[in-house]
Amino acid sequence: MSVARRAPAAGRTSLAALSERLTPWLLIGPALGLLILFVAIPVVLSFVASLYQIPLTGLQWKFVGLANYAEAFADAGVRQALWNTVLYSAMTIVPGILLGLGLALLIESFSRGRAVLRTLLFLPVTANLVAMAIVFQWIFGVRGGFINELLALVGLGPVNFLGSGTTALPTLAAVGIWRYSAFNMVIYLAGLTTIPRAIHEAAAIDGIRGLTKVRKILWPLLRPSTIFVTVITFIQSVQVFETVSVMTGGGPLGKTQTLLFAIWQQGFWFFRLGYASALSFILLLVTVIAGLIRRRAISSTDVV
């Protein structure tokens, strides 16, 4: 099928043959050039820039070696951001998986109206996160907020959800769960369609249904979906930004500081692009390693 190899035989090498041979390169050229400029070079650049001290304005770079990394690992704020990421992931992954799977099974249990349900339940993923963060800020508000009005009905509160160090991160995690479980649901729905009908029939014959069927049959078969969802949720939680930026600004006292938010603060608030590059490179390593783990884990089950 090769265009090049099907080119006219020797002696008839014409302009047309040459242009056919060049065509693939013309077709991939623009995309390739842009990927090199905006993905490959930035990967290298974030490492190179991390070895320098760079002011936001002007391009006078000053070589500082690994000083930015030394600072990052000594920085209590960075360590707190990493710790917060771990906590946030821990709070979102399991509920996100259970709710996502639960919603998918719920939708599957209907014979009609599946498409409508899926659309409605998927809306959280398509909504603008800045807009939703503002709405959640209001819902969790101390004065007049929906949750506190509810709590007042039973004589509790008010709770300063976003202003208190103990509740701020769990509140952001609740917003995360709201969004991730909708995404996870779609992944599980796709996973469920790959389970052969014969397995459902065999289970029915053996009288296996309900939670037993989920636990003994579906859960093991959905392992690739679960791995996918776990890693994606982790990668997303390392990169949580909108809700932190809008709802808490990393506070109170850094309790909701995340790695991406720290990068933004360092680079564009304190104007330290070199240091922000070092943090970006750490973020890059964390997300790439997580992505590779996902690929290995999924391909080892021979499904993808």
Partner: protein, 277 residues
Amino acid sequence: MNDRRVRALTLSRWAVTAFCVVLALFPFIWMIRTSLVPADEVYVVGLRLLPEKMTLQNYQRAWEEARLGQAMLNGFIVTFGILILQLLTVVPAAFAFARLQFRGSTAIFLAVVASLLVSSQVTAVPNYITLSALGLVNTRLGLIVPFATSAFGIFLIRQYIVATPIELLEAARLDGLSTLRTLLHIYLPVARPAISAFAVFSFVVHWNDYLWPLLVARSQEIYTPALALAKFNVAEVGRDFGALTAGAAIVTLPAIIAFLIAQQRFVEGLTGGEIPG
């Protein structure tokens, strides 16, 4: 199972479903509801679903004070600018990787797939450095250019084309079509479902993007909707959630509409190739 048990099960399943739908949609419901409450009543209407007096003045305030008209226009310019450039670069590349053989094609395609591991958040700082060197900070072009192609789009559309029968290509060859004509007249129509899935996906993602505009857009004239809304949230010291939720509703709407129009394809696009099925 007897009749009564079946009915109880059906009923509880409906109850659970209704509860889940309300929970998923609650922020939207509360957003619309609050946006209709007159400014002086926002903090006193409590839990009532609909206020006695309803108003649209919050929408007017948000539109004017957050300068949402300009921001929405910018949003459309930027997202469609990105989309057009992506389609121009992604579709030909996807076709070439799927159906043409050239030296190093497999290796290059694997490199493209590998680049999916690198998110735009991770490259934001170095890309900012590149853009400031190119003098594109605080320009609309600077909001568009870094997203002018998409490895995800190449992957998605390539997978779709690979799954089409090879006879298509052979027929085109027999008819003596050039490679370019084969792309334009055969594969462009054939790959339409994948292309439109990607288009909606791209629109929603870039309409909702916040981090990159936050870094690049400095003057209000080029704010995108999410950025204008976030700045309005910071500036709105009175915490008037009537106007804030009205602004949130305006900004949310276009992506939701795009999703609803093509929801089937969007979901397939999002999960396509990443997951079996």
